[in-house]
Assembly symmetry: C2
Homo-oligomer: 167 residues x 2
């Protein structure tokens, strides 16, 4: 496998994987491309490399910036905007964990809390609803605590967390 084959394989795998996680292909591929690019890339560069339209590129870059994993960069003396991604994969994971907690875990915990707090009425279906949503609430909450522990940790956390879990 030479450089170009490897690059294409990585970008397309990352795209497919994104799809599996509810992230669209273009967004995941732009991220993959920036991640392995030693230099910042312009919108033209990205469009050209991935064969996607200007609008698509613009919108997905914006989303990646909202996620806090891609940044604008300006080269001095140039009007054009360039983009880089977060290069430290631990920091990348931390940022993604943080955003997913904020966007998904926290709203879920809220709903589970509301639902599990309904008035017990003695029927088995109400009992079961309360029991199960309470259990899910507790689990989601513990997960969120774990995620936050990990977010607030210095670099190399994944290795450290692993060690703690193993022993």
């Amino acid at each position: 496998m030479n450089y170009n084959e490897a690059k294409n394989k990585f970008i397309s795998t990352w795209g497919a994987l994104g799809t599996l996680w509810g992230i669209n292909k273009a967004m995941a591929q732009i991220h993959a491309l920036l991640l392995i690019s030693p230099e910042p890339l312009s919108m033209e560069d990205i469009m050209e490399e991935l064969q996607i339209s200007r609008g698509n590129t613009s919108m997905n870059l914006r989303q990646l910036m909202d996620w806090g994993i891609v940044f604008k960069e300006n080269k001095m003396g140039e009007r054009k905007e360039y983009f880089t991604s977060e290069k430290d994969v631990q920091e990348l994971a931390r940022q993604i964990a943080k955003e997913r907690s904020r966007r998904e875990l926290q709203p879920t915990i809220k709903v589970l809390n509301d639902v599990s707090s309904i008035q017990e009425d003695g029927t088995s279906k109400t009992k079961e609803l309360i029991r199960q949503t309470k259990a899910l609430h507790e689990m989601a909450n513990n997960l969120d605590i774990m995620v936050n522990k990990v977010i607030g940790q210095e670099s190399n956390w994944i290795t450290k967390a692993l060690l703690k879990l193993i022993k």
Copy 2:
């Protein structure tokens, strides 16, 4: 909020959340419905409750069974098939973690390994591709080890893992 409001809120939230994770709405909602149902439900019950077609119900039940989180049950003296979900949420999480590792993490690790093993050629772009895919490989691998630790653990693991991480 009464029982029906709570039930509907839970089912529709679970559906929306599934969508965010690449699981279709019907599948997530069938799962939610079974999770809070004290009794096993038939296909008719599910179709009726969620207002979805027979084909849709059949296909999604099959997927949930492939995931190992929904089971067929036969009531004696009845030909109809009934379905229940895994009720223990820790076991549920364990099963989901196991399947996601098998379906997503392991293939990803394989590709990252292949891509990061290309021949170094002294160019900065090759160096960066190797460096970044190696870092991702290491991270994916550590995650997989963590997941497997956790899968192989007895019930209540999430609380235990949490305690270990906190101290």
